[in-house]
């Protein structure tokens, strides 16, 4: 029953996301992601992972799990239902002091089970004027733990204009989701170099925005 409601809720979310954003994916020239991947994306809105989830073809969507902060997604029963049942999120504890498990270990385990992940390497929502915040080291540790997994940069454009911080009515605007070339940790690559390379690869996907002056 719970699973059925979750499935229904997922369809409603899909329909809503499409109605508001008419979201369109631009795939990398190498085509649809074929292997297990970690999609790492810019993060400026609570709806970010929903858009990636929406544009993925159903067969990929079934196997993708967003990585999300346990503090937010376990806050209430509704949050927990949406996070766990609808989106099957991999919940990690962001607060070091409350950690029971190593977040990288938790994510690696999900990958080992055959899932792909949606991951926001900035670590938190970007509410600044900057296009992209500096990355936390999580992406590097994940790439070290599972070096064979494709790391796919994904740029989400315009969603921050749909629902700016503090607003609760979404404005319908067209959003795009751009997928870049899969990348891997080079052998012997240092943490700083890798993080910088990943940051640049993601930023390179950001379109020169036609609208919006913010």
């Amino acid at each position: 029953m719970r699973a059925l409601i979750a499935k229904l809720a997922a369809e409603v979310v899909l329909l809503f996301a499409r109605a508001v954003t008419a979201v369109r994916a631009t795939w990398h020239e190498s085509g649809l992601p074929r292997r297990r991947s970690v999609y790492f994306a810019n993060h400026s809105s609570h709806g970010d992972f929903v858009l990636i989830w929406t544009v993925l073809p159903p067969r990929l969507r079934r196997r993708v799990r967003p990585v999300a902060g346990a503090d937010y997604w376990l806050k209430s029963k509704l949050n927990s239902f949406i996070g766990r049942d609808v989106f099957n999120a991999v919940l990690i504890q962001r607060d070091r002091d409350l950690r029971e498990a190593d977040p990288v270990e938790t994510m690696a385990q999900a990958l080992d089970e055959g899932s792909s992940l949606i991951f926001f390497p900035e670590g938190t929502r970007n509410q600044t004027e900057a296009q992209l915040l500096p990355f936390k080291s999580g992406l590097f540790h994940l790439a070290t733990a599972r070096p064979d997994v494709d790391l796919v940069p994904v740029w989400i454009a315009n969603l921050n204009r749909v629902m700016p911080k503090g607003e609760f009515v979404p404005i319908p605007l067209i959003c795009t989701v751009t997928f870049g070339a899969p990348m891997h940790l080079a052998s012997g690559e240092a943490k700083e170099a890798f993080i910088e390379r990943a940051h640049a690869a993601l930023l390179a996907l950001s379109p020169k925005q036609a609208g919006g002056s913010e």
Binding site: A22, I174, G212, S213
Partner: protein
């Protein structure tokens, strides 16, 4: 079958016939010139034709569903067009409530007013009430940066995507003596003539186009395409007089006026795209771009067609 239904049936048959021919031509061209899908022009032609099938079928369904069907169809068109338009504007955080009002209050109210058929209010609701209330909502947030540009853009978006577009279904509210119950055919006349004009300009331009007509605005438009397309669409419009309250000559003049408005509307909307640095308004319709790319000419011709018809023919 009533006379109106019979005419409608003939019209649908004719349109599907034309599309069938177009599909066949597209198929043959594809087999001959682009068997591996490598000829971009032919692939684009075929995706355009396929999109036409979908659009024709959607419009046909709306017509069968009657007044409510037509209103709902165009309300959705307005919504999708407004979404494309606002995406390209300089909105700021401070415009949030003004934009929410445009989408979720002004748009539905305009179509509701059309449903009530009260010309006195639906013809001024956006130019007067929305025009004055939207900047008031925006100014409440106290952000003055680019204020004039921002409020003008929102008003323009509403005028084009909601007000002008709603004049297509507004044709249903006209009372024309001797034409009772046939108003839906006026919509068919407007949409068929204007869209055919676009298609014919494209075809004439592809076949004979030499001289660019507006190289800065729309590099694909040519003098030959313009003249050939407008002339042939005008003739077709005259030939469709039997679905209108007009005589053949009047129908031809009307067709000429709306095809010219459609052509210049296309140029205006191109200029906006150029200004914003994009090629298409969106990608809702495969091969055509966004909805506004397809609707721009209809949007510009609809209010003029509505008012000319209302002034001279309506009781």
């Amino acid at each position: 079958m009533s006379a109106t239904q019979y005419d409608m049936f003939l019209l649908v048959l004719g349109i599907f016939g034309v599309l069938l021919v177009a599909s066949l031509v597209g198929y043959v061209l594809q087999r001959r010139l682009s068997p591996d899908g490598s000829n971009a022009a032919i692939e684009n032609l075929n995706s355009r034709i396929n999109a036409w099938w979908v659009m024709a079928i959607l419009i046909a369904i709306a017509f069968v569903a009657g007044r409510i069907g037509v209103l709902i169809l165009f309300a959705f068109c307005s919504f999708a067009a407004l979404r494309e338009f606002v995406t390209l504007t300089n909105t700021r955080r401070a415009d949030h409530w003004a934009l929410a009002t445009a989408f979720f209050v002004v748009l539905p109210v305009q179509y509701f007013l059309l449903w009530t058929e009260d010309y006195g209010i639906f013809s001024i609701f956006i130019p007067v009430y929305a025009f004055l209330l939207m900047p008031i909502i925006a100014v409440m947030r106290g952000d003055t940066q680019h204020f004039l540009i921002r409020i003008s853009e929102v008003q323009w978006a509403l005028m084009i995507c909601v007000f002008c577009a709603s004049h297509v279904p507004a044709l249903l509210t006209l009372h024309i003596p001797g034409y009772e119950g046939r108003n839906v055919l006026l919509i068919a006349f407007l949409v068929i003539v204007v869209q055919l004009s676009d298609v014919l300009q494209y075809v004439w331009g592809k076949l004979f186009g030499r001289t660019k007509i507006a190289p800065n605005l729309s590099p694909s438009k040519t003098v030959e395409g313009f003249v050939g397309g407008v002339a042939s669409a005008t003739l077709i419009g005259a030939g469709l007089w039997w679905i209108t309250p007009f005589t053949p000559i009047q129908a031809g003049v009307m067709a000429l006026v709306i095809t010219l408005m459609g052509f210049f509307g296309g140029l205006v909307m191109s200029a906006i795209k150029r200004d914003r640095g994009v090629k298409d308004w969106g990608n809702l319709i495969e091969g055509h771009g966004g909805l506004i790319d397809r609707l721009d000419s209809v949007v510009f011709s609809a209010p003029i067609f509505f008012h000319l018809t209302r002034y001279w023919w309506s009781a």
